[in-house]
Amino acid sequence: MYHTGGQIMNRRLATLIIFMLGMAFSSSVQALELNETGKVDIHGFITQGYLFSDDNNFMADTEGNGSTQFNEIGINFSSDVSERLRMGVQFIARDLGKMGNQAVTIDWAVADYSFYDWLNLRAGKIKFPHGLYNTARDVDMLRTFIFLPQSVYTEGWRDSLNAGSGAGFYGYVPVGIVGSLTYIAFGGNAGMKDDGGEARLLEDQVPKELQLNVLAMDTKRTWGSQLILDSAFSIDGLKLLGGYWGHEFTADCSVINGTGSPLFDATNTLVGSKMDTETRVFDIKIRSTTAALEYSWGNLIFATEYMQNNYRLKLPLSTRVLPSGMINKDFDALAYYGSLTYRFTDWFELGAYYSEYFANKDDKDGAESVAEGTVKAGQEHVKWLKDSCVALRFDLTPNWILKLETHYVDGAALMYSDDGNIAADGVTTTYERYWMLYGAKLSYSF
């Protein structure tokens, strides 16, 4: 019998949901004993969210009536295969606007072998070491907020930052009064989808008139490293983190070519006539440096992170096609935030953060981008995102969690034009500068 991809995907998703519901309502879901030598632990979660914005569409069709295309379903199986070897896998189906679309994928799958406390080997699809909270970004019940600060944990980069296929080492070393040092090193390949968040962000880097379309993404190499100092300098609850990672990938893109020279006039308006499209290979290298601090004092947690990403883009396009400023780019994006959460009781937690992101730290006000023609005058705010967030978390039961969250946002960086942020002419990207985002999310985990 012939099945479409969508039918197969929906059947897989339905199977996953039915299995999870069965596990969730069975009397003993924590561990399923398979044989005499080991047990398989099974855990899972289901979430459903709602997003609404008064202006701009954030990651989905949120403006107006809001969007319920915001959910995750995950289930994991893990077992101690031997005294030194642990294996596990987590499947996830998620949806956030155009991302995920509830396709069942492997979130992580890992074989973890322990030589010593200071030397452990991991191989498989491994959670990527980025910042304080990246490894748990898919697990809603682990945090106060619905959205982690987008400056450091943008949803658009979720696919490549979530996990990578490869191998790595980690371990911990006590270093006396300095604290307990954990190191993490990973090398491999972080998959990017041809129509994923990274590809869509790339398409938004050039004027929409050029009709840039990413055809294929090919990750060359990915690596990541972190040093984490717990109980730093003998201060209980103080964690310091330093991280460095890199992505190198290419993107096969189609873009219009044209006749006439130049294609742009003095105001950077496309004046050449369109001829056809041609395929070019874009080469992108990213290096990211992160420094973070987290301090826990009783039920209070303060966290702050600073991240700087260096982007090197080689776009093999003639100056006739793109403004000269876009041919080769070497710039730094800047991101930082501070957050505070407090758990008042077993069932109530309050959190707030302020987060800032600048797409180019040397062009914070977007004036340079307007001058070179990559941003329309009046849309300079696409070069930054300043987000003030307040979140309430209610632990209704040990398994059920409800979150309510509001954001007051200045700017529109890290968002997608094809989420509906296009002007009436159907071509020009347009965003309001100041806008509000509201979110609600219900999650169940076992």
Binding site: N76, W108, T135, L392, T406
Partner: protein, 146 residues
């Protein structure tokens, strides 16, 4: 409209605070116990912290560390605060994170001290904590170095 929404969130936060100040845990005497296969006779507070955070996975003789906890209560609160430097909520969250990110196996949890002692006595490499009244000679006491 935006200001009203923000004020609404602040109001909900204040209501939450009013109903939510936690009680203070009362200390009780506790001892750290281990299976007879555990090679150590004493542990430092840092050892205990690393064991209960899953960072110390093997004993010096190569036997795997198996961790047991009690499911909440004053004794657990006191133990976690004294040695793991986390409260129960943060400790549970820590292990949920490990479980959902492939980071490790959470401690085995018991509601009764008697059951924990029995588990430790029968499980190679196991370690746990109980009040001194629950101690039996089926397990060994691991002295805590200060």
């Amino acid at each position: 409209m935006r200001r009203k929404c923000l004020l609404g969130f602040v109001f909900l936060a204040i209501v939450g605070m009013y109903y939510s100040f936690p009680g203070i845990a009362v200390a009780d005497d506790l001892i750290v116990i281990g299976n007879r296969s555990v090679p150590a006779s004493e542990l430092s507070p840092t050892d205990i912290q690393n064991i209960y955070l899953g960072k110390k996975k093997m004993w010096d003789n190569g036997v795997k560390v198996e961790v047991a906890t009690l499911g909440g209560g004053e004794l657990t609160d006191r133990f976690l605060k004294a040695y793991v430097k986390k409260n129960s909520s943060m400790y549970n969250k820590y292990w949920k994170k490990q479980v959902f990110t492939g980071g490790g196996k959470p401690p085995v949890t018991f509601e009764r001290e008697k059951d924990l002692v029995e588990y430790v006595s029968k499980t190679k490499g196991a370690v746990g904590y109980v009040t001194s009244q629950s101690y039996t000679d089926s397990v060994k006491i691991l002295a805590v170095m200060h």
